[in-house]
């Protein structure tokens, strides 16, 4: 029975792998475009069914572990591959399978205009990504985890750069790859150190060791910190968060799947899976919590000033991921994981909704939108549902999980991060409803002008007077395939929200009674502020911006973090390259040139020894004999 359950879980990634193999090998099929997409979607549907069934089978305490030996080493097995299916991993599996399936269906409409070969390529990457992500989720050991970790990174690179003809997309793909790779180096070092420390890659074996106290604590903090570095890169924690907003250059469904719901959560998921290990090193957990809270606040502030609808969502993702990190850092990883699941659903919904808007308007820019609710009522509805979920209002998906995180951080004894997170909750509601009001309702241009930023401030008054509400000329509801995905996710968000509003799971910690009203209250306050500013225009957005002068200007410049990285890149990498170049040119080449010159000169000199006179050779024989005798005597 257990083996059968494990195989059920295994089937999900393997179905995607099958789709990937078929599409990559049968390239004429791939170049047909739509048929390739249908194959991929079919496999994704099968995988979703398998994931659901396996989640049902593993809902309780059931754990299936199917492993095959992979790397034999003398006398044992160094590494295994397989699946470790339990309640958490199968829930994550369902999330991945669901979002992957919906995104694939959605993409059919979204990428309608793409050429057939490009569409086939897109679905091939999608299948590879889904396979890698599922194998990551089910990984029974660190090695498989790492390999899949890198695979999803590769897919992220490929899909961000899907429109590789656009320089910005190519640059963003490269940036994402490099920045996450910086974290992955730490991750790999951590894995290897941990293996040296415990002698195993296997999560189950390591957990047994950890729970029996058999892992020596000396040096463990360094290893867990290295593991955390991997999560910093993948889950976009400060200071490596800068790649995620740029990753929005990819197609929107990709952002929904990879950069909101699944891949970026891999870091959080990994920390959750190894929470028993991190529990041994509370100092690292404190770092996780503080960095998480700080990143959450930073990203939330940045989200408030973005004009690009996708960038708002991207910073929001960074912020929410940091929320989860904060909970894990506080020692209650289950709260973070719960938020991961709900966030995956409603953030995918938000991205897909944004995609529908972009699809309709033909622009990412909030200034090009406005009053879309009249033309796109479905999209407006589902997007608002997503925004409400993100704000964490009751009856919507983010409601309980957000409060759980706030409670967890407070229960962990982190008062300052808790305060920061409350502020983030307020800002989250504000920036989300800024988008909602600007894009779907709103009064149009004045708000748009403000959103253009500080440089446009002088411009504001002239535009504000008598400007007509801007409406996108050809905005229309998206096709059925996109709407289907949107509504399914919206209904799911509401269903989750309603469920958690009335059924509270058992909490691991005690939360004070004032916590929930405070959380909901700050969200409502944020919505109210956004409403007053962008809908009613009771508060002038420019005045609001001016009130936060330095912060506002800093946020517009992304707090110069990107500049610092760029400068560091220029100075460190280029300087290093120059140094290497100099060493190569003058030291390495110099040594070689001197050697070759010596060889030539020595050859010239030695040539004269070959005089052709027998006497000289006798001389040589005598000298040789002398040297031999000297060697025998003294050598």
């Amino acid at each position: 029975m257990m083996a059968a359950d494990g195989i059920l879980a295994l089937a999900a990634p393997l179905l995607h792998a099958l789709a990937f193999l078929v599409l990559s090998v049968a390239f004429p099929l791939r170049r047909l475009g739509r048929p390739a997409a249908y194959i991929s979607i079919l496999c994704a549907a099968g995988a979703f069914a398998a994931a659901l069934l396996s989640a049902r089978a593993h809902a309780g305490e059931t754990i299936s572990r199917l492993v095959w030996t992979w790397l034999p080493s003398d006398g044992g097995t160094l590494a295994t591959v397989g699946v470790l299916a339990d309640a958490d991993s199968t829930m994550m599996l369902v999330l991945v399978a669901l979002v992957a399936l919906l995104v694939q269906v959605y993409s059919l409409g979204y990428l309608h205009d793409e050429s057939a070969p490009a569409l086939g390529r897109y679905y091939t990457y999608q299948s590879l990504f889904a396979f890698s992500m599922m194998a990551l989720v089910l990984a029974p050991n660190f090695l498989q985890l790492f390999i899949c970790w890198e695979l999803v990174g590769l897919c992220s690179y490929l899909l961000i750069g899907f429109w590789y003809q656009r320089p910005a997309a190519a640059r963003a793909a490269l940036k994402a790859f490099w920045i996450t790779k910086a974290g992955d180096v730490g991750f790999l070092i951590g894995i290897v150190l941990l293996w040296r420390h415990t002698g195993t890659f296997d999560l189950t074996e390591m957990r047994v060791l950890a729970e029996n106290g058999a892992i020596p604590l000396a040096g463990l903090a360094v290893m867990t910190f290295c593991l955390y570095l991997g999560a910093v890169g993948k889950s976009a924690q400060f200071p490596l968060h800068i790649w995620l907003p740029d990753a929005m250059e990819g197609p929107t469904p990709v952002s929904a799947l990879i950069h909101a719901a699944t891949m970026v959560t891999a870091g959080v998921y990994m920390l959750h899976r190894t929470s028993w290990l991190f529990a041994l090193t509370p100092e690292v957990l404190a770092i996780v919590a503080w960095v998480g809270a700080f990143t959450a606040l930073l990203a939330a502030v940045l989200a408030c000033v973005q004009n690009d609808i996708k960038r708002v969502l991207a910073y929001s993702t960074v912020s929410q991921l940091s929320y989860m990190m904060a909970a894990i850092g506080a020692g209650f990883s289950a709260a973070g994981f719960l938020h991961l699941l709900t966030h995956g659903v409603f953030k995918a919904l938000l991205f897909l909704g944004a995609g529908a808007v972009i699809h309709a308007v033909g622009s990412n820019n909030l200034t090009d939108m406005g009053r879309l609710a009249r033309r796109m009522p479905h999209t407006a509805t589902v997007f608002t549902v997503g925004a409400l979920s993100l704000a964490g209002l009751p009856l919507f998906a983010g409601f309980l999980s957000k409060e759980e995180i706030l409670g967890a951080v407070l229960a962990g004894g982190f008062q300052v991060p808790f305060a920061m997170l409350i502020l983030v909750a307020f800002l989250t509601a504000f920036y989300m409803f800024r988008v909602v009001f600007l894009a779907f309702f709103g009064a149009g241009a004045p708000a748009a002008a403000v959103a253009r930023g500080a440089h446009a401030e002088a411009h504001v008054e002239t535009v504000a007077e008598g400007a007509h509400a801007h409406e996108a000329p050809h905005a229309h509801e998206p096709p059925a395939s996109m709407l289907l995905s949107l509504w399914l996710l919206a209904l799911l968000s509401v269903a989750i929200g309603v469920y958690f509003t009335f059924v509270h799971p058992e909490a691991e910690f005690e939360s004070p009674a004032w916590l929930m009203p405070l959380g909901v209250g700050s969200a409502v306050a944020g919505i109210a502020l956004a409403w007053a500013t962008y809908q009613r225009r009771a508060i002038d957005a420019a005045t609001l911006a001016a009130a936060f002068g330095p912060i506002y200007r800093g946020a517009l410049a992304r707090f110069w973090i990107d500049d610092v990285f760029e400068r560091a890149y220029l100075v460190v990498l280029l300087g290093f390259s120059r140094l290497i170049g100099w060493i190569d040119r003058y030291l390495v080449d110099g040594v070689l040139n001197v050697l070759s010159a010596w060889t030539v000169t020595a050859g010239d000199d030695l040539r004269t020894m070959q005089s052709g006179r027998a006497q000289d050779y006798v001389y040589g024989v005598a000298v040789g004999l002398l040297v031999l005798l000297l060697w025998v005597q003294f050598g």
Binding site: Y619, L625, L626, L629, L630, Q633
Partner: protein, 164 residues
């Protein structure tokens, strides 16, 4: 015993002195004469080593034969050149250093070896023993030697034959 020692040392002085003269003297003809003295000295050394037959062979073949041939060669070449051939040396310093170094190492090696100081008894008539050994045990090399000398003789004639 002291007579032996005296003989050895006087022979050694003669031998070494004449050998030095061979390699240092400028006059080629004198050098040949010094060589003849050195070879005679060697014959004396053979006598000291109880090898009367070898001393005789040395005198006859070497001192007689070789010196005659060399003198002959000198005369022939000088006549061809039409002038007196003088004997000069080059790189004396380097050659002396190498030769002296080699000598030093050889002597050092010899001094380190444990070699017998006493002479074992041998047959009273060594010449007879040598002759018997040559014609019994070493008869094949002996015959081959005859062939070699014949070949050398013919080769020398062939080389030195006048131009056709």
């Amino acid at each position: 015993m002291s007579a032996d020692v005296l003989a050895f040392w006087s022979l050694a002085v003669v031998l070494v002195g004449s050998a030095l003269a061979v390699v240092l003297t400028k006059n080629l003809f004198h050098a040949v004469l010094w060589l003849a003295l050195a070879l005679t000295g060697t014959a004396g050394v053979f006598l000291l080593l109880d090898a009367e037959f070898l001393a005789a062979v040395q005198l006859l073949l070497y001192a007689g034969g070789i010196v005659t041939i060399v003198v002959f060669a000198i005369v022939v070449t000088e006549r061809l050149v039409g002038e007196r051939i003088s004997q000069t040396s080059r790189r004396i310093g380097a050659g002396a250093v190498v030769a002296a170094g080699l000598l030093l190492m050889l002597v050092r090696t010899i001094a380190q070896q444990r070699v017998p100081d006493a002479r074992p008894e041998m047959a009273a008539d060594l010449t007879r023993t040598i002759g018997e050994t040559v014609l019994t045990r070493f008869v094949l090399p002996f015959e081959l030697l005859a062939v070699l000398m014949l070949a050398g003789l013919m080769g020398a004639i062939y080389f030195a034959r006048p131009d056709d």
